[in-house]
């Protein structure tokens, strides 16, 4: 896995885990890879994976069953969506606002383009 330079690696790993759950590669109620397995797969320090798993546990995306390992929780998808939304609003949206402010693009134009985009794609 290639890591980007502008986001902490543990968050990128959390994103990778979330994506695998959302894509159904790692099914709800089933075991996700152990810290060691994922560290080896991604060639990263196991401490970084521990931190990613702690982050996901706090958001109830995965849960630890003592002695067995980590599982995707029943409302995993919903919780992933919540934390991703939070991240988008906190990180990507300010960047977007900054750009439309500098480029002097009005919110009306953005709104119109958003409607077009929705009808074209969904």
């Amino acid at each position: 896995m290639e890591f980007r330079d502008n986001e902490a690696i543990y968050l990128q790993i959390a994103g990778y885990v979330s994506e695998n759950i959302m894509l159904g590669k790692w099914a709800i109620g089933e075991k996700v890879p152990s810290v060691r397995e994922l560290a080896v797969e991604l060639q990263v320090n196991p401490n970084t994976v521990v931190r990613a798993y702690e982050f996901l546990q706090q958001r109830n995306v995965i849960a630890n069953k003592r002695g067995i390992g980590f599982f995707a929780t029943n409302n995993s998808m919903e919780n992933i969506e919540n934390y991703r939304k939070e991240r988008f609003l906190k990180q990507e949206l300010p960047e977007f606002f900054r750009n439309i402010y500098i480029l002097n693009i009005s919110l009306e134009e953005i709104g119109k383009r958003y409607q077009d985009f929705k009808s074209e794609n969904y």
């Binding site: 902490a8 968050l11 080896v40 991604l42 990263v44 320090n45 401490n47 970084t48």
Partner: protein, 276 residues
Amino acid sequence: MIKLNNLNFGYSKKKLLFKNLSLTLSEGHIYGLLGKNGAGKSTLLKNIAGLAFPIDGVCSVKGFMPSQRLPGFLRELFFIPEEMYLPSLTPAQFAKSTGHFYPNFDIGHFNNMLNEFEVPLDSKLNKLSFGQQKKVMIAFGLAANTSLLIMDEPTNGLDIPSKSQFRKIIASALTEHRCIIISTHQVRDLDSLIDSLIVLHRQEIVLNSSLDAISDKLTFTSSAQLNGKKALYTEDGLGGINTIVANTEESYSKVDMELLFNAIITENTSVTDHLK
């Protein structure tokens, strides 16, 4: 796990290589040791491993004094030097003759790693190429399951697929009870494995800090994104001017270890002062 306190060392008493050097390392981490050529990286590792003896000061590893070279200490340590002279034995013979000095030696793990590294099991070690020899020692050192593992330039001589194998092996080797020290010039080979950085410069340790703590305090960026902030260090790079600034916005940027190293060794104290 490792405690050096006011350590003085020199190969001759007139010319000290380390002066009042202090360093504390703990279990559960992979330390990257950086320093210029001749700064004394290998010598520092040898002091920890009991292969070179300090003139004075404290050097304590797991409660042992390395210079006493007690069996209880030596079986908890494996040192993979940069250059090695291996005997005329096959890997299997070597494991048989040397493995039992390490109570937790795991022969199955040793053979698996050699398979992954594609090292022939029936060739004499001294007839192998430098890279192949290195792989045998890395495999042996990890299979020895010691609580302290020291590697001096381990990725030197490894081919491209072996470097990736090496990273996987190290990722699986770190436990809470193990301390791994890797000295290297090839920081990019080990980028996402090293969690703490030690820099040795001018007879002392000028930095010993986790990468998390460093990225909390410093931002690594290009000068185009400075927004009027004062740079602590700048360097011309391919894509513009590489810059280190104070991290005032709690933003994240990946620690550029090469840039940080250059900043430290140019006697630029603003970066090291900011990290204190």
